[in-house]
Amino acid sequence: MNRLQVDLPGLTLKNPIMPASGCFGFGREYAQLYDLSGLGAIMVKATTLEPRFGNPTPRVAETPSGMLNAIGLQNPGLEKVVTEELPWLEQFDVPIIANVAGSETEDYVAVSERISKAPNVKALELNISCPNVKCGGIAFGTDPKVAMELTRAVKAVSSVPVYVKLSPNVTDITEIARAAEEGGADGLTLINTLVGMRFDPRTGRPVIANGTGGLSGPAVKPVALRMIYEVSRSVSIPVIGMGGVTDVDDVINFMSAGASAVAVGTANFVDHFVCPNLIDALPGRLDELGIGNITELIGRSHTL
């Protein structure tokens, strides 16, 4: 019995560690560094119906223990993802979670229907929380009714379970979480980035060309933990947690807060081997903590 295994709707994870969407492209770059088959899953970069160039540069800026980004969902579009990127990933024994984005409900539906039929796509992650695009993205993730209806529309066409990625840029994240659940979501992923800014003291202008960007990295970790804790207590579908995960105790803490699995984002830029390093470190840390099976951690804080 693999003590790191976690079973979720559509997903049998060898371990609960997966790179987060937008930080790992479609896997090609990190495949030069290590075997992607060791990962629990891969959340690939957001796919839209048409190719997108994204925002002007600079697109990233460092902040204390974090970074801002405003990439703008650059991706090669559904056709190329389905005919080139996903087939290339089939050489690895790893489930793919396809992140789906769009400007209109129809875009989400069209992308979801087609991409969910790819043999290695085992789940969808509905991106209703990107803060860096003018239409779509976060607009779908801040209104409970809109989030519910979009989830329902995508569920109706998807061949695989649907996870909804939530934005932290709301007053009450549990409200959106419950709306997604009501719309038929099989799981939730959180948190996306927090909207932030940085300025250049010489010019007075924002450093990021887009003006605002999404804050990620260790700086957002306490916010992520609080939201995972709140959301996992208010819904009955599983949560994949993310937001500043860097070391093995972050994984333990995210799962204790209520996450069933953990995605790693910004840390991939700091330590390019962070995912395999976390997977290697987990059994030893579980031993030290007297935990037999990693699933024992999930939501253990709720009853304490």
């Binding site: 540069t57 223990s65 090669p76």
Partner: protein, 255 residues
Amino acid sequence: MIRNERMKVAGQREIARNIYELVLEGELAAQISEPGRFVHVRAGRTMDPLLRRPISIADYSDGKITLIYRAEGYGTRVISEKGHQEEADVLGPLGNGFPVGAAAPGTKALLVGGGIGVPPLYGLSKRLKNAGVEPVHVLGFQSEDVVFYEEEFSRLGETHIATVDGTRGTKGFVTDVLASLDHEFSVYYSCGPLPMLKAVAKTMTGTEGYLSFEERMGCGIGACFACVCHTDSNDRGYVKVCSDGPVFKAGVVTI
């Protein structure tokens, strides 16, 4: 092959105001195939500063690499404090460098650098000279106190310095020096700020050229799409500076 190595600091010194020369020892040096590639350096060991700093490789040989960088921001200032025998967490070598073979032996090659874009031209010049090419250097700086490696370049070939304030060499920009040269160049190579690259490419129209670009980076390996530039040379409409570059043939990147 990309390695992530804790390299040893073999030496670090300030060679001009806020300009540091850092020599690192390690196996990574043996992986460097051409001048103009870069490494991604983690400044500290904690989460702040968080991101790695992309720094071009000025030179490489015998298990050592030399980095020359300007300590201007938080991260590079932390790197500048690294002392002898301390460790540096280095990912690399990354990106694609300058094609030495583009210049035929017996011909002259023009190397134009601006400010902190000068360093990778040093490794390039050495290898051009070894290949029987005659390098001619035109190096631009803000002022005399930030001029570096003038002697090192002079040992390899004809070297012209320009400073914006005229405190050393020609007063003005590298393009002012270019206007006064009447050599025949088989190829030109350039690294520096975007306005300079633009001006150099314009002046050298008709000659084969290679430009090295700088852009803010996240991952440094092509996964995060932070450092993209527009191009008309492929059907995607973009190139990534970190993994498709940082060196591109002139004309590839829309500037």
